[in-house]
């Protein structure tokens, strides 16, 4: 598994280089499209997973979005950053899939897990924290989950997230604020238990 990158590193790609890649992909260069997919794979999958919860569903949604982006490349304005354009397609694909999903495969929320509970041993600590975070995320509206992942994990600005989600910038700030409030409480509780 790759080491976690600092926020934003994966998406802060030279726009000129990226515009050239997009132009080549649009002209039918499959290798160029492959490079774009590789660059945005992690971000797209995390955003889809934040929206859907289930990792398999998330990968399906991210894949659908990548194919959809390839078909829609003619509609992309090369003067604008590629990331928010692509991630808007990913967010929409994940949201559509979530709506269509008739059987919710995500495990039901365990209130004890979110609120606290017995602390596992040190080796499983990180995994348990991840599980608790995912459970906490699942209690938030999808838009809020995507907003905080794009802001705190991927390093996108409020303005860029507004483009991705198609909502005003002020609403993005509010979504990030509310998501942070929940997650900060959870992390503080976790730290307290650890001490």
């Amino acid at each position: 598994m790759a080491d976690p990158q600092p926020p934003g590193e994966a998406v802060r790609i030279g726009q000129q280089d990226e515009a050239e890649l997009v132009a080549r992909a649009r002209a039918g260069d499959r290798a160029a499209f492959g490079v774009l997919v590789a660059r945005y794979a992690a971000t797209a999958r995390r955003v889809a997973r934040a929206a859907l919860g289930d990792p398999d569903d998330a990968d399906d949604a991210a894949q659908d979005a990548m194919l959809s982006a390839l078909v829609k490349l003619d509609q992309y304005d090369p003067r604008r950053p590629f990331g928010p354009w692509l991630l808007r397609i990913v967010a929409n694909a994940a949201t559509d899939r979530r709506r269509r999903r008739t059987v919710r495969r995500v495990e039901p929320l365990d209130a004890a897990l979110v609120a606290g509970g017995t602390r596992p041993d040190q080796t499983a600590e990180r995994r348990a924290l991840g599980q608790r975070l995912r459970e906490a995320l699942a209690t938030l509206p999808a838009r809020r989950r995507i907003a905080i992942v794009l802001f705190d994990v991927e390093g996108y600005s409020h303005a860029e997230i507004a483009v991705v989600l198609g909502i005003p910038e002020g609403t993005v700030r509010s979504e990030v604020f509310h998501a942070r409030r929940l997650l900060r409480t959870l992390l503080a509780d976790w730290k307290e238990e650890a001490e």
């Binding site: 997919v37 997973r49 990180r126 975070l133």
Partner: protein
């Protein structure tokens, strides 16, 4: 008064790191290979790819729209060219060529009455 929200304009590294680990999707190279393979499958669909199908539908749609527009234009033009039937007046009856004595009597009776 409503309290303003204390927005922080910078990413929170603690939340970011924790979320990144929680949402870690695993091996990206397998995902990339899967997407690229799917693109190849769609493109190798021997003309049966969905974008080709959509393009075909678009052509049929345009042809149907042109046919409907032509038919509508023809029908409108035809109805505009056809004469509108007019109600007969007393003057028409008086000036019209006489075809039977009964008709003459009816017309004269109506004129005398007026």
């Amino acid at each position: 008064m409503k309290e303003s929200l204390p927005f922080d304009h910078r990413p929170d590294p603690a939340i970011g790191d924790a979320l990144r680990r929680a949402l870690e999707p695993g091996d990206d190279s397998a995902f990339v290979a899967r997407v690229v393979a799917q693109v190849e499958r769609v493109r190798a669909g021997a003309g049966a790819s969905w974008d080709a199908v959509l393009a075909g539908w678009a052509r049929v749609g345009v042809a149907a729209a042109v046919t409907i527009a032509l038919a509508a234009g023809y029908l409108l033009g035809r109805s505009a060219a056809a004469p509108t039937p007019r109600r007969a007046s007393v003057a028409d009856a008086v000036l019209a060529p006489v075809t039977s004595s009964a008709e003459v009597e009816v017309v004269l009776a109506s004129v005398i009455d007026n």
